[in-house]
Symmetry: C2
Amino acid sequence: MLFLNKYAIGQMDQDVIQKAVKKAYQLVLTQHYNMPDRMHVADQQNTLLLMPCFSEKFFATKLVSVFPEARQHGQPAVNGVMVLSDNVSGQPLAIMDGAAITAQRTGAVGGLAVKFLTPESIQTAGVLGAGVQGLSQARYLLFNRKIKTLYIYDLNQDAAMGMINTLKREFPKIEYMAAKTPKQLVEKSCVIIAATTSKRPLFEASPDFISGKTFISIGSFRPDMQEFPNIVIKRADNVFVDTLFAAKESGDIAIPLMDNVIAKEKIKEFAEVLEQSKIFENKTVFFKSVGMALFDLTTAAAIYQLAVEKNIGQILDF
Amino acid sequence: MLFLNKYAIGQMDQDVIQKAVKKAYQLVLTQHYNMPDRMHVADQQNTLLLMPCFSEKFFATKLVSVFPEARQHGQPAVNGVMVLSDNVSGQPLAIMDGAAITAQRTGAVGGLAVKFLTPESIQTAGVLGAGVQGLSQARYLLFNRKIKTLYIYDLNQDAAMGMINTLKREFPKIEYMAAKTPKQLVEKSCVIIAATTSKRPLFEASPDFISGKTFISIGSFRPDMQEFPNIVIKRADNVFVDTLFAAKESGDIAIPLMDNVIAKEKIKEFAEVLEQSKIFENKTVFFKSVGMALFDLTTAAAIYQLAVEKNIGQILDF
């Protein structure tokens, strides 16, 4: 059995991970997987989520705990442990840092949206939210497009500067700008990725600076959270979700539906795009991800196989 | 974070583990715990069980997979991984072999039944079933009582001899006998522990050789499984269960209830016995365990604390 910590997972090839997430979308289309509803356990103010999923060769369970008060004591609020097993023999194969798996696969979800929904020629981009997910989004954005100028915005200016400094080391040729407001970031960028937990839209928009851009919402994972104002989805030529559950789970879809600014029929599954070679030149496009355990499963399986091949990780004597 | 494999867990002090299980019973009485219903996932012919539980200081999730066909390929059908975390900070503390935790805590459940339900003077005992659980039951039986002769029965005679050889090395002073039939074992023993997956009672009994003995049923964990014939529970002066769910989950309680050989009111929670100093001299006693995640939690927590203290286990750089 293998143990892979966040450093081992962080150094994994982005291309391998993005292909693993693409494979998850393909499994959705062919229905070759088994993903039961996640188990949601409340204990005092804390939450434990148990997310099992099965494919033909593997099964995986991600355990995620959310302890809101831990941050006050200098510890991360969200912790995760991923257990990957062989779905033929039943034997456990690997234990992994679940938060690192989440960051990688969520980055790759955004990366695939950038790859398939934005014109290849885009040179400006913006990331709203400079947390772990924002950083991972930026990495996969820069992996997929030759961006000249990247705008970063966070309520906490130090966090934005910290993210810029990290990215400068990894991608030194790019120009980084800390945006003064979310609105400024949207105005300047061809693709806008939001990875926040905002309960209210991050900006007010007039139609003129939305047109022709790609909006990627990664953050809002509850019906009471919304990152983009209704006008974005209203004006969008195409609206995609990573899973149709997004209509229930995320305010970025649920609120526009409730407000009748968009018809349900307009919302399409992103997996369908991967089967076409459609080009979204000069289109306004909206993409919402809420994630699913199947992404974790295919990502963990690909990371495990790569780690075995490259002798990465700590061997456990099970 | 610490990793503890089956060898590390197997070498843990029986007294510490038995006290940890006793603590679980005490938590049941005071209700100082949170144990949601386990999640039960079916995938093809296989099963995955997710068992979370919270106490004041810790929370733990045991993942158990059951792959019936794995045995045909020389691999264990049941695999388990236990994740222990801190319930104040939310941080993961340890990953453990879940099957080893199950074996230890189930042994200790039987051990406590022996300790509190049998006269101190007993010198003969029998274990029906020579699998992993049977071996663990024998170890905790011998830890609690000065047995002179121990009878072992298994359908597979090689398994019975294998268990006798293992026990001989650990407890060399005891006389071991492979019983020819379950009936012979019951006739010769003051306490009878069954750890099988039998769907039909293991023996037919006449009242005369049941009287004054203690019967401990560990195996039957489904309503269609029954280890002891109805007459045992019917004749018993006292009937105890580790949790009241046993009436639904195990045929050893559900079938006698359905057949009207016992009234529901006669079934008592074992936890109550621990609060008294009642002596069951010359009584016929029946005890049924179906287990619960709270046993796993207190056992894992005690093992973790002991492992840290004694520098046992593999340190994981989380």
